[in-house]
Each structure stands twice: as structure tokens, then as C-alpha cells.
């Protein structure tokens, strides 16, 4: 049975805003309505923090970056184009801050280039029981393995994987956040998932 992270999902759902509510809040926030902006912070703070934390790999630093994201958003709200999703704008600010931070610390992430056969020598058989969502248990150990796999990825792959699979952004939104073509987003997502799949395969093989 697949173990669901029910708590985390319910928190996300509870805080998420529908588009109409979000637009109304954005309109008020443009006029420097403090309460409206506060509600937008409530809706996005944990998502932005989760992204920053997995990017910079340091909780305190990620909390500082998240704070800076909302401060900058508040300062520049009049420049935000409300036709675009707010999350795209917030993640773009967050991504730029994370990259700046990494550069300032001269902590350029190592790019693990995947060359040759991107899927590995042995393709995974999706009919294999190990990859069956009904039988695959995402216990703490496996989730930790996923976290480690993400942390060991290159910055380029990690950011795309988190924005797409974790934060549910569309390809075009990610392309805007990272300022790259959509084909690049898809390619990086594929490589990131392939990398993670390999990590999980090795773990599941060892457990067998």
C-alpha cells in the first residue's frame, strides 16, 4: 500500500487559494493592503521555503531567503503582472535569490552531467512489482532516500524537478522562472527523474 503524506497534502490544500480569491487579494495587495498581502504570504510561504531549503540545503539560509522573497514581492507588487500566476513570480524571485546566495558563498553546485545512455543500461520494467504504486511503500527511509537523491542532483536538474513534481508548476511557468526554453525544461525534468529512478532502483534492489 502506498503511504500518503496526508498531513502535508491537507496543509497545502487548506492554504491554497482559488484563482478568484487570489486575484482579489493581489488587487488589494497592489494598493499596499497589509492584510491581503499577509494572506498571500500564508498561502505560499511554506512552498517557497520548501523550494529554497532543498535548493540551498540549509534551513536557516532558506528561511532568510523566503523572507527576502516576500519583502521583495511586497516592495515590487506594482510591477507584478496579474495575468501570470503569482506562484511563478514568487518562485522566480526565490530561484534568483538562491542562485545569488550560492554564488556569494562560492558554493557553485557540482553539475553531475549524465552522458551516454540517459536511462541507464538496464531499463526499468514498469511491470516489476517494485514499481507498483499499490505495493511500493514510501516509508521514511525511502523518502529520505528521495531527499538525498534530490540533494545530490545538479542545481539545474534539481530546480526543474522541484518546481514541476513538488510545486506543480507547468512547463511554461518553469521556463519563465528559469528563463530557459520549454524543451530544456522537459529535458532536465527527464534527466532528473531518470537520476532519481536509478537511486530508487538501487535501493529497492538491495532490499529485495
Amino acid at each position: 500500500m502506498l503511504v500518503m503524506a496526508a498531513a502535508s497534502l491537507s496543509v497545502t490544500t487548506m492554504r491554497s487559494l482559488d484563482r478568484a480569491d487570489e486575484l482579489a487579494l493581489i488587487e488589494r495587495a497592489r494598493r499596499r493592503d497589509f492584510d491581503a498581502f499577509g494572506r498571500l504570504v500564508d498561502a505560499y510561504q511554506h512552498r517557497v521555503f520548501g523550494f529554497a531549503k532543498r535548493f540551498v540545503k540549509d534551513r536557516e539560509e532558506a528561511a532568510d531567503i523566503t523572507q527576502e522573497v516576500f519583502v521583495r514581492a511586497f516592495q515590487n507588487f506594482d510591477r507584478f503582472d496579474a495575468r501570470a500566476p503569482l506562484r511563478t513570480w514568487l518562485f522566480r524571485i526565490a530561484y534568483n535569490l538562491c542562485v545569488d546566495k550560492a554564488r556569494r558563498h562560492e558554493r557553485q553546485p557540482i553539475e553531475y552531467r549524465i552522458d551516454g545512455n540517459v536511462e541507464g543500461e538496464e531499463p526499468i520494467d514498469v511491470m516489476d512489482d517494485r514499481w507498483n504504486p499499490e505495493t511500493m511503500v514510501l516509508d521514511d527511509e525511502l523518502l529520505q532516500l528521495v531527499e538525498t537523491g534530490i540533494a545530490n542532483m545538479s542545481e539545474k536538474l534539481r530546480s526543474v524537478l522541484l518546481l514541476h513534481d513538488r510545486e506543480d508548476l507547468q512547463y511554461d511557468e518553469i521556463a519563465e522562472v528559469l528563463n530557459v526554453p520549454i524543451g530544456t525544461v522537459k529535458s532536465r525534468l527527464f534527466l532528473a527523474r531518470a537520476h532519481l529512478k536509478q537511486v530508487l532502483s538501487e535501493y529497492l534492489e538491495a532490499k529485495r
Binding site: T12, H46, D115, L138, L143, F190, R193
Partner: protein
């Protein structure tokens, strides 16, 4: 149909160098991304624990945002004319106050005036009631005041008495 090796090359070039994907390659890549095994990986990523921020963090953010609340900036002319206007107004009020009003009556003068009026009214009332001569100050005022010459009598004057 593109072979696997060519697809891999295109994927790597697009991922690292932002090279464009050929339509065939993009179609194959879409199909690959939608495959069950990679969707399961995606599912695993989505299940990762959500990190929470503390109330202290939120409080600190609120403080920073409050500091950024817009403060109405005074334009240079507002800065210049307001003190000038205030000074002019104060000067006008002072001038009007000085020219319009004389010295304020002291409480002493006022009480003296009231006292004189009261004495006059008492005196008039006593005169109406009893006539001249019975009121002490009336009698005193009716009698002629002694003159200096009367005190300076000579012996002749005494003899005549």
C-alpha cells in the same frame, strides 16, 4: 523515427546548452515523461514532507513589511510653505491681539469701582430713608472742614470772645 542514441544526444544538448529539441525528439520525450516508472518517481517527490516555518519567522517578516509600509513623502514646497504659513499666522494673531485690546483692567481697579458704586447706592438709600445729617459720612461731609487760619488765632481774637 529517431533512434534512442539520437534522442539521448538531443536531450543532453537541450538540458545543458539550451539547444532546441526537434519535434520528433520532443514528442518522444513527452511520451517518456508520461511513462509509469517516471511518473512514480514524480509521485515520490510530491510526497516529500512539507517544511513549516515558525511563528517567530512570520513575526519577523511582519515587522520588516511594516517598516516598508508607504510613508507619505512631503514635497519640497510642502516642506517650505508649511512653516512659513505657521509663522505668518502666528504673527498676524499677535498683531491683532496687540492693536485691538488695551491694557486689561486689573482686578484691583474693578473691585474699587464696584466698591464706589456700592457706597454710592448705600448712601443714596440712607439719604432717601433718613434725610441729611443722620448718616455719619453725610454729617461729616456737611460740616465745613477746619481751615488752617482757624487754628492760628491771635490774642486779639481771644479777647473778642
Amino acid at each position: 523515427m529517431m533512434n534512442q542514441r539520437d534522442l539521448d544526444k538531443q536531450i543532453l544538448a537541450a538540458a545543458w546548452d539550451d539547444s532546441p529539441l526537434a519535434p520528433d525528439a520532443e514528442r518522444m520525450l513527452d511520451a517518456r515523461l508520461g511513462a509509469d516508472d517516471l511518473r512514480l518517481v514524480s509521485h515520490a517527490v510530491a510526497q516529500l514532507e512539507q517544511d513549516e516555518l515558525s511563528l517567530a519567522w512570520r513575526s519577523a517578516l511582519n515587522e520588516r513589511l511594516l517598516e516598508l509600509q508607504p510613508v507619505k513623502r512631503k514635497s519640497w514646497w510642502a516642506v517650505a510653505w508649511r512653516p512659513a504659513l505657521a509663522t505668518g499666522l502666528a504673527a498676524s494673531v499677535l498683531t491683532v491681539a496687540l492693536f485691538r485690546s488695551g491694557p486689561a483692567p486689573s482686578s484691583h481697579a474693578e473691585s474699587l469701582e464696584n466698591e464706589l458704586i456700592r457706597i454710592h447706592l448705600d448712601s443714596a438709600a440712607a439719604l432717601d430713608l433718613a434725610g441729611t445729617g443722620l448718616v455719619p459720612h453725610e454729617v461729616a461731609s456737611a460740616r465745613p472742614a477746619p481751615v488752617e487760619e482757624e487754628l492760628d488765632w491771635s490774642s486779639v481774637d481771644l479777647d473778642l470772645l
